[in-house]
Structures are given as C-alpha cells and as structure tokens.
C-alpha cells in the first residue's frame, strides 16, 4: 500500500499518526512529541493542518476542537552565527 506522508520534514505517515492516536496520544501537543510531526525545520507549517484534520477524524471531533500547539520562535530557522553576530567582536 502506498504511504501517505503528512510531515515531510520528519517522514511521519498517516499510519504513524493513526497508530499514535490509537495508543492514546490524542492531543496535538502530545502527538507531535510522540511522532515528531511538526518538529522539523518547517516547524509544522506544511503539515499541521493535515495532522490536525486526521486527528479530528480519528477522534470524532470537530477540527476546531483540536488545539494547535503554540508557534515557537524563530519563524524560520536562523543561523546561530546570525543571532550571535551583534555580540561578536
């Protein structure tokens, strides 16, 4: 069977999400930690909607009921050298 990849950064498939929800990781906060979905370089920008929709479907809830984890800085990955630059002598 073809794989449906939801999180491209971390190669998390729909099946991975299904299995995690079946085990009891029914919140996006805990599901992301368990599967790694939404924790790659794009930080969920590409996949969070798809993962959220699948979790809603699997748990019989409306999409709006599934809280999205708060976005964390930086909005796009930044080189440490860039962040450090102002202090470099």
């Amino acid at each position: 069977m073809a794989k449906t990849i939801l999180c491209l950064c971390r190669d998390v498939t729909a099946e991975d999400v299904r299995r995690a929800v079946a085990q009891g990781y029914g919140d996006l906060e805990t599901l992301k930690r368990f599967t790694g979905a939404c924790t790659g370089p794009c930080q969920g920008k590409t996949c969070v909607d798809a993962v959220r929709r699948l979790v809603a479907e699997l748990t019989g809830r409306d999409v709006e009921e599934i809280a999205v984890p708060p976005a964390r800085p930086p909005t796009t990955p930044v080189r440490l050298g860039t962040l450090a630059a102002k202090d470099a002598s």
């Binding site: 805990t30 368990f34 370089p41 009921e65």
Partner: protein
C-alpha cells in the same frame, strides 16, 4: 503559562473527556483517594508509580493541563550525579543507578544514552576545584575521570580550544528523552491502577485539625488524607492553598534545538563559563540552554529574543562550527529555585498528610530517586537518610546545603 493557555483554548471542548497520553484517564474523579498528587510532571507521576508499587491504595495524579506540559517536557534532559556535596551526590547517585535500568523497569524505552557527562573547566581555578570534587566523587564510587586539555579535545574535537582547561567526565551518565521518561512512568503507573487525570486544576486544599482532609478541583471535590505538592512552577501557590509557605522563586529557563547534524558531539556537556548545557540527540539535533549571569524572577514561558541571542552567542563560542547551523526552535519553561538551589522533599510543617516535592532545578535527573524515597517516606513514615537533608526545615534552621558544581545562577549570586 500553560495552565491558563490550555483553559482558554479548551474550555468549550470538555477536555477532560479525551485521551492525551497513554495511561491518562478520561474517567470521572472518585469521591475518595488514599493519596492525591498535585501535578502531573515527572515528579508527580514517578512518585505515583513508586507508591503504587508499594501497594499504597487508590491514587490520583491531577494535572491542570496535559501531563508533561510543565518543565518536565521542556528541559535539557541532562543526567549526572557527579556533584560537589555529600547531599547532592547521595540523592542524585541513587537516581543515576535507577536511570541505568529505567527502561527495563518501566518496560518503555526512555532513550537513556550513557554517553558520559562532561563538566567543563575553562580556567585553571575551575580545574583545581574540579580536582577536589573528583576526590570526593571517587570516595562515593562515582565513575569519574579528571581530563586534561588534550583529553577533552580528543573527546570533543569541535570544542573551541580556548574554552578548555580540563573537565570532569562522569562516564556512566549522559541524557535521556524527557517526554519518553514521563510517558514511561505514566503507563507503568496506570498499569498498577494509578489514575492520571489531565485538565484537572486544584483550587483548594482542605485541612482541618492539623491534617489534610480534601482537595477541591474544577471537576469536583475529593476526600483524601494524603496530598503531595508536586506542582512545579506553581508549587508555592499550591502549598499556599493549605496555608504553607514554600520559600521558592520562579525562574524562566530557555532552551533551543538546531536542525539535525551528523554526529559531532558524544557526551552531554555543561559549561559553567557560559552558564550553558547541551547535548546532541540520537536524531542529530543539537539541544541546549544557557542562563543569564544574573537571573531575574520571571513566571512567563514566552521565549525572549535576548534568550535566543544569549544561547547563540555562547554556543558559537563553545562550538564555533555552530555559527553556520540553524536554530529550528526555541522554547522556555519555568523552574522554582530555593535559596540553596536544592529541592524541597519531605513533610510540610504543621499539616499531617501534606508532603512537598518541589523547588526543583535538577528535577529531571533527580526524579527516579526522589520518587522512590518520597514513596518510602509516605508509606512507612520514616525519612530515608538520603532524603533527610532536603527537608523544608533547613530554611528555618539555616542549615542550607552547600553545593558548588551547579550550572545555574543562584538568585543574587553566581554559582558555577
């Protein structure tokens, strides 16, 4: 913080009625428990597991949000017992011995990586102090080695030579996965019958006649004669519900993770010179945090630009190659700190049945031992000797614990 955020976002969804992690329950609260643990961080959940192992009766862990939403899911995951005082070595080496077999004990891989823990000395003075500490650590049979400049360079070839005078390497320490550890304890506890109730906020503690009688939550009132305050960043407010003052201040710690890299760093590394700690995960990410030299009490878990720049500047100083590596994510958590930076473990004064398991800054590494020893105290009424120095009485008697190898700034003074 998370408690507030979750309440705001979830009020309409009856959040208690769904599963958040395996081991958590969706059931209603019972009317009575033999013990109630306030806080589903690693401390509360691990202690519940240890009590259940002793057959302590009906147990409930209550968390205002999802278990692990506090510092237990936000920390730097560093594990060591090579401290500089008898008291810390006693407690944390008991923990380290438990870490070695934790995955087997809990039947869940907590990803404990015994890659060694390197406490870096960047000055001759720091190295001399380390030498004294190693002598003490050896007397306690810790697996520690004093490394010179060349040894450290061989072990950490990417580290800036100018930062290296020498180091203490604890060879059987390292790091583990913080979420996996919490889930491991939660599932093991649930198998023994512990009820872990997420999205359940404690709003009152009933104590009459000098003893605990009840706990009131936003989902109803429970009667119980044993309550443990394991509420992490909110521990002072929770103890306050019973009229007990816990002398802690709240500090924000910030941490970050980079994009994954090919393996370049094996041991966990702490550097008092930059007030930072870090490791490279099995997935290749570089994870770490730094602290400002003079911390300011702060209850926010919003990440700051100053924090990001502090980490970037210091970690590039320690590992110059990181200048070209991208920070993927940056987050914060709060810890509670006592005057001597040691946790508060034991009975609360004046109220029978109320116990304190809070004031933690090293509460990830310390959890396995604290849980087992606190369970012994609660189940038998006897304080295990290793636990005794950590009682809250020390703040009244002035017998504070003197520990000098911490990578954390004490309020008002820098401890390195």
């Amino acid at each position: 913080m998370s408690v507030r955020r979750v309440r705001r976002g979830e009020a309409a969804a009856r959040p208690a009625a769904r599963r958040v992690i395996p081991g958590a329950t969706c059931a209603e609260l019972a009317a009575t428990y033999d013990a109630v643990l306030i806080g589903g961080g690693l401390q509360g959940v691990a202690l519940a597991y240890e009590l259940a192992k002793r057959g302590y009766g009906r147990l409930a862990v209550l968390d205002a949000a999802y278990p692990g939403s506090g510092a237990s899911g936000r920390n730097g995951e560093m594990i060591r017992s090579a401290f500089a005082s008898e008291e810390w070595i006693g407690l944390f080496d008991d923990s380290l011995r438990r870490w070695q077999i934790l995955s087997a004990e809990l039947d869940f891989n907590v990803l404990f990586t015994r890659a060694g823990y390197l406490l870096l000395a960047s000055t001759p003075e720091a190295l001399a102090a380390a030498q004294g500490n190693v002598a003490l650590q050896r007397r306690h049979n810790l697996h520690v080695e004093l490394l010179g400049h060349d040894d450290v360079r061989r072990l950490c070839p990417e580290m800036a030579p100018a930062m290296i005078a020498g180091a203490v390497l604890q060879t059987d320490a390292g790091f583990a996965h913080h979420d996996a550890t919490l889930w491991a304890y939660a599932q093991a506890a649930a198998r023994l019958g512990v009820e872990i109730h997420p999205y359940t906020t404690v709003t009152a503690i009933g104590a009459t006649g000098g003893a605990v009688r009840s706990v009131t939550t936003d989902r109803g009132k429970i009667s119980t004669s044993v309550v443990v305050d394991a509420a992490g960043g909110q521990a002072r407010a929770v103890a306050g519900l019973a009229g007990v003052d816990v002398p802690v201040e709240v500090f924000r710690l910030e941490a970050m993770v980079t994009e994954p890299l090919a393996p370049f760093l094996r041991p966990a590394v702490s550097s008092p010179a930059i007030m930072g700690y870090c490791h490279q995960t099995t997935r290749g990410e570089f994870v770490g945090g730094t602290e400002p030299d003079v911390p300011v009490p702060c209850e926010s878990i919003r990440s700051s630009l100053d924090g990001a720049r502090d980490m970037a500047t210091k970690f590039v100083r320690l590992f110059p190659r990181l200048a070209g590596v991208r920070m993927m994510r940056h987050w914060s958590g709060i810890v509670t700190q006592t005057a001597d930076v040691a946790p508060i473990l034991g009975r609360a004064p004046g109220i029978d049945g109320l116990y304190l398991d809070c004031g933690w800054v090293y509460g990830f590494v310390g959890a396995p031992a604290a849980a087992a020893l606190m369970a012994e105290l609660i189940a038998t009424g006897r304080t295990p000797p290793v636990l005794a120095p950590f009682g809250i009485e020390r703040f009244a008697t002035g017998e504070l614990i003197r520990e000098t190898s911490l990578v954390v700034a004490a309020a008002g003074e820098s401890v390195a």
